[in-house]
């Protein structure tokens, strides 16, 4: 049996008072504990790094790959964000797992791809996972797409009843993971990458809360655009992409969210240092790891 969270809740003595306030009062018509922080990621270093990587590597990557890696590392640096609420207590997740929502254009479905231990995954490994999962999902060759089809055949009343009771259990009790269908409860965060040219510019975005409490964190990246900024008294044009981070106030407050967002942006703007951090994480956690980290250059 796999338990996504540690067995002991975060002690109330270590929980800030205002988080306790939300823990006591949120739900059933109580206050909305959602906090949203929108900022910008400098896009020129991201673009430059992705181009260089694609010239030297045998795996094709895009901004989503870098974002998954950066969120994994940011969670490792800020374990106070890698938590969820169960009942009126807060529990830390065991691992820095990350989910990415990826649309498949030949179907109406969204493929949610999970990256276990995303803080230790190289871009090569992330690319392998994404392309394999997307291709299998597109061809209905994956177990996940078959599960989705089976669940869609459920009558509406049965689906509503099952979801209602399951969410009740998940919200109030520490429940182990029940196989493949339940695997996504092991991750704290859902990432949406809307940085594609087909989307309009993003001025604001409020990610929804998923049913259930397992994903209190959401990271959304918008389309990069050029912006005029002042540098040393002169107007310069820079490319930036909006990023929105949504979190639950029962887990952390605005200060901690600001720190997390700041780390995430710093990791995205320094992709080479991010690769070094990942390489260091992998060496520390698994010194005998044989997975290839194909692209590694010192900062």
């Amino acid at each position: 049996m796999k338990w996504p969270t540690k067995s002991k809740a975060i002690p109330r003595s270590r929980t800030p008072f205002f988080n306790l306030l939300y823990l006591s009062a949120a739900g059933n018509g109580g206050p909305d504990p959602t906090i949203v922080w929108t900022s910008e990621v400098p896009w020129e270093p991201v673009e430059k790094f992705v181009k260089e990587f694609n010239h030297e590597s045998s795996r094709l990557i895009g901004s989503s790959h870098l974002l998954v890696q950066a969120v994994g590392q940011a969670l490792k640096q800020h374990p106070e964000i890698n938590r969820r609420v169960i009942g009126r207590r807060v529990y830390e997740f065991h691992d820095c797992n990350v989910c990415l929502a990826a649309r498949v254009s030949n179907s109406n479905e969204v493929n949610v791809i999970q990256f276990k231990n995303a803080d230790q995954k190289s871009l090569y490994q992330i690319a392998h996972i994404i392309w394999k999962k997307q291709l299998d999902f597109m061809r209905d060759a994956s177990a996940e797409s078959r599960d989705l089809k089976r669940m869609r055949k459920m009558p509406g009343w049965l689906m509503r009843t099952a979801i209602r009771y399951w969410n009740f259990l998940d919200r109030w009790f520490r429940v182990p993971i029940w196989g493949r269908i339940d695997r996504l409860r092991e991750s704290v965060v859902l990432i949406n990458d809307f940085s594609h040219p087909r989307f309009p510019n993003m001025r604001g975005y409020k990610p929804s809360r998923q049913p259930g409490e397992s994903k209190p964190l959401s990271v959304t990246l918008g389309r990069p655009e050029e912006k005029v900024e002042l540098a040393n008294g002169e107007a310069v044009v820079r490319k930036v992409a909006p990023i929105t981070v949504r979190v639950d106030h029962r887990i952390c407050d605005g200060y901690e969210l600001g720190q997390f967002t700041s780390s995430l942006i710093e990791l995205m703007r320094s992709p080479r240092q991010l690769q070094n951090s990942v390489a260091a994480s992998t060496a520390n956690e698994n010194p005998n790891a044989t997975d290839p980290i194909e692209y590694r250059k010192s900062a």
């Binding site: 673009e47 181009k51 694609n54 010239h55 590597s57 045998s58 795996r59 094709l60 895009g62 989503s64 990826a102 649309r103 498949v104 254009s105 030949n106 690319a127 392998h128 994404i130 392309w131 394999k132 997307q134 291709l135 597109m138 061809r139 990458d193 940085s195 594609h196 040219p197 087909r198």
Partner: protein
């Protein structure tokens, strides 16, 4: 219409950029994102019956439409001769 021209038409339609041709660098010019990549894979499968796998998704194969067309032709030949090898 040969596969390269079909791919050019398809990419021009999806990106709404009619300047794209067989030699345009799709990767460095930021035309190729994950959505377009999946659209291309689906298009190739529907039009040619060729299934690309994860190992085919490389920067070289998807850098230009010409490279992609060459990959499809190589895979078509492999499939054709593979039938006789069995």
């Amino acid at each position: 219409m040969d596969i390269e021209n079909q791919l050019i038409d398809f990419v021009q339609t999806v990106t709404t950029d009619t300047t794209i041709d067989g030699a345009t660098d799709l990767v460095d010019n930021n035309f190729l994102d994950s959505l377009l990549l999946m659209d291309l894979v689906i298009f190739i499968e529907n039009e040619t019956g060729i299934s690309l796998n994860g190992d085919d998704i490389t920067p070289f194969n998807f850098r230009t439409i010409s490279n992609l067309a060459r990959l499809i032709q190589q895979k078509s030949t492999t499939v054709y001769f593979g039938r006789f090898a069995a």
